[in-house]
């Protein structure tokens, strides 16, 4: 399979489902992780094309995960989409993330935006 991988880090079950569906619709293979610690381990093993990252997740904050991803040369081509309801945290992440989406994030919005982030569209 040639489809790029999208990692969804989101603790809310419903949003994780919606984001997953949107990214699937955009042509990604998706994987969902719902807590920070698991995400920290997982990003050392895989090289996703896109990561959607919630800032408020259990155990390890999205902020720290973002720093970790950015500090990893292997993930230099990974596009990070921060998805948060906290406008202030969103503002703070703007310099580091590729895209900051403040919740509410609609199905079609994420589908269309992530379709543009697909590697072949670069």
């Amino acid at each position: 399979m040639n489809e790029p991988l999208a990692l969804i880090i989101e603790d809310d079950e419903d949003l994780a489902e919606i984001f997953g569906q949107a990214l699937t619709a955009a042509g990604y293979v998706t994987e969902i992780i719902r807590d920070g610690l698991a995400a920290q381990t997982r990003i050392k093993e895989i090289t996703p094309a896109v990561i959607t990252l919630d800032m408020h997740i259990p155990q390890i904050s999205g902020d720290r995960l973002l720093q970790q991803i950015r500090g990893d040369a292997r993930l230099s081509k990974t596009r990070v989409v921060v998805t948060t309801a906290d406008a202030i945290m969103g503002e703070n992440a703007r310099g580091t993330a590729d895209l900051v989406l403040i919740k509410p994030i609609t199905f079609s919005q994420l589908r269309d935006l992530s379709a543009r982030l697909r590697p072949r569209d670069r």
Binding site: D14, I18, A85, D86, A87, V100, I105, F107, S108
Partner: protein, 572 residues
């Protein structure tokens, strides 16, 4: 000696006129007594004179005179008039004995009669001189007729007496008049001085009352007040300030501003406070300072006298510890609401959309329509929540405006991405236009610009029933660009144009019920535009539509790092 003389000459009376006459009489009596003594002494010093025939008579005259003087002195203590009358009679009698009768009646000694005449006006009353001129005239006539050598009475002398009486009368009368006037003037002056003294006392006591009242007011207000003079030394502080700062009142006054600012309990904003003290006119008032465990709001103003001259500064400190705590609680609450409210709403929106898009299998048109309605309602709810949160953020100064490069063309494109569907649903044409004169890349905050544009277009669509809504981005001049939103809606009444930018306001007359929303959209737009150093204006005509014009400064990318400015910090 002088005191002794003074005691002898003094008379104990209140009437100044009487006092003057009686004292003058006493002085004359004293003078007469001295002359008498000198005469006796000189008499005994020249034995030749003692042997003269007339000497016994002369001595007898003197003795009478001496007794008279003493007697008159005592009478003078009781009645000035009688004493003076007696004195003059005695004087006339003595005059009659001073020389041979012929010499007195018409000779070398006639002139001595002028003495009682002249004196009488002074010590008795002005017209008394006439009485004694008559008495003297009678004496001359009697002496002339009873003389051993008959002589003709000196009629010229008698006329002279009357002339002298006239002059004396006139002189003393004017003297009396002058004295009376002088006394009246003095009395007047006394009254004036007394009145002024009373007024001064009244003013002083009034000022004391005012000062006491001001002090009482100052002591009872809850805010801390301290006043520094032009040399920056504290001249006044109230108990409330002592309570707030936990510094004893006596350690607050008579200290300098520097002492106050350098107090160890002041844990923040020392420089801001100092700047405020140095330049109260040009520095924002109401700065927050942390004093020990309290948060105080400081306001400082210059104290000016009636001629606008600065005579010091007054500083007022208000305890806002509780308010600050509440603000912090509100911020925390907002953060929680922001997350907990948006997440489930986001889920509803997402599921409805996915149902509609057929992600979970095909649905019929009716079901699709319902899904769309769920989406619309959820979107409205989300907009309200977002607006409330934005408003709270702006008010607490937490909203940050970024300065990064952004493309006007992309802003319009993104706007269409969001608004085309909404316009289409309402059957309104949405037109966008980009002025070719606009720089392709400008510096700004794309998210906030987007928010302004979406809010304006959303608002325009909301209030337009048919026709079109257009948004133009254009270059105004070398330094400014504009976002112009025009609709063909109902227009805004002139009086309403003043308040549509106010928080929670919509045009009166059930607009909220008709159009939904809580009246925050335009208020947020205005506040965002102002945070971006821009202005917003509205032009509108009833029945023809409205144009909202946002004017912003053009910032061109200077290849510097993106900067984030905190509007609250700027304000301080």
């Amino acid at each position: 000696m002088i005191k002794f003389l003074d005691r002898i000459l003094n008379v104990d009376v209140d009437d100044p006129e009487d006092f003057r006459r009686r004292r003058l009489l006493n002085t004359m009596l004293l003078g007469a007594l001295i002359i008498l003594i000198l005469n006796i002494v000189s008499l005994f010093l020249s034995p030749a004179t003692l042997k003269e025939e007339s000497t016994p008579l002369f001595l007898m005259g003197m003795a009478i005179f001496f007794i008279g003087v003493i007697g008159i002195y005592y009478v003078n203590r009781r009645s000035g008039k009688w004493a003076a009358f007696l004195f003059l009679l005695v004087l006339t009698l003595v005059v009659n004995l001073t020389d041979a009768p012929d010499q007195l009646a018409n000779g070398r000694s006639t002139f001595v009669y002028t003495i009682p005449i002249a004196i009488s006006s002074l010590i008795l009353f002005p017209s008394a001189s006439f009485i004694f001129s008559i008495v003297s005239a009678i004496c001359i006539v009697l002496l002339a007729t009873s003389s051993d050598i008959p002589v003709v009475p000196n009629f010229f002398a008698i006329i002279g007496f009357f002339m002298l009486a006239l002059v004396s009368w006139l002189t003393t009368r004017s003297l009396d008049q002058a004295l009376k006037e002088l006394r009246a003037t003095n009395l007047n002056l006394d009254h004036l001085v007394e009145q002024k003294t009373r007024e001064l006392a009244a003013t002083l006591s009034r000022e004391l009352v005012v000062a006491g009242r001001n002090q009482a007011i100052l002591n009872s207000i809850a805010d801390g007040v301290i006043v520094f003079d032009e040399h920056n030394i504290a001249i006044l502080a109230n108990p409330a300030l002592s309570r707030l700062t936990e510094i004893p009142l006596e350690n607050l006054v008579n200290r300098s501003v520097v002492d106050f600012i350098l107090n160890q309990s002041l844990s923040s904003s020392r420089q801001s406070l100092q700047a405020l003290f140095e330049n109260p006119e040009e520095t924002a008032t109401g700065i927050r300072v942390n004093w020990a465990s309290k948060t105080l709001s400081a306001s400082i103003a210059r104290v000016q006298d009636a001629h606008d001259k600065s005579i010091g500064t007054v500083a007022v400190f208000r305890d806002i510890t509780r308010e600050v705590e509440l603000e912090r609680m509100k911020d925390t609450f907002m953060g929680v609401v922001s997350h907990e409210l948006r997440t489930p709403l986001n889920a509803i929106l997402g599921y409805a959309e996915m149902l509609k898009e057929g992600v979970y299998g095909a649905i019929n048109d009716k079901q699709s329509g319902i899904a769309q309605r769920v989406m619309n309602s959820t979107q409205r709810l989300l907009t309200i929540v977002s607006d409330l949160l934005d408003q709270a953020q702006i008010q607490s100064g937490k909203l940050k405006i970024r300065t990064v490069s952004c493309k006007p063309a992309e802003l319009l494109e993104a706007l269409r991405g969001v608004m085309d569907r909404i316009a289409l649903d309402k059957g309104i044409e949405l037109k966008t236009e980009l002025d070719p004169a606009m720089p392709p890349v400008i510096m700004g905050d794309p998210q906030r610009l987007q928010q302004v544009m979406i809010n304006l277009v959303n608002n325009a669509i909301k209030f337009t029933e048919n026709g079109n809504v257009s948004m133009r981005i254009l270059r105004l001049d070398a330094k400014n660009w504009q976002i112009r939103t025009t609709d063909t809606g109902g227009g805004i009444p002139a009086d309403a144009q003043e308040y549509i930018f106010e928080t929670f306001r919509q045009v009166e007359g059930g607009a909220i019920r008709q159009h939904g929303g809580v009246g925050l959209g335009l208020s947020i737009v205005k506040q965002l535009v102002e945070l971006m150093h821009g202005k917003i204006a509205v032009e509108s005509e009833i029945g023809k539509g409205s144009t909202f014009t946002v004017t912003l400064p053009i910032m061109i990318n200077d290849d510097s790092q993106p900067t984030i400015t905190d509007p609250r910090q700027e304000k301080l």
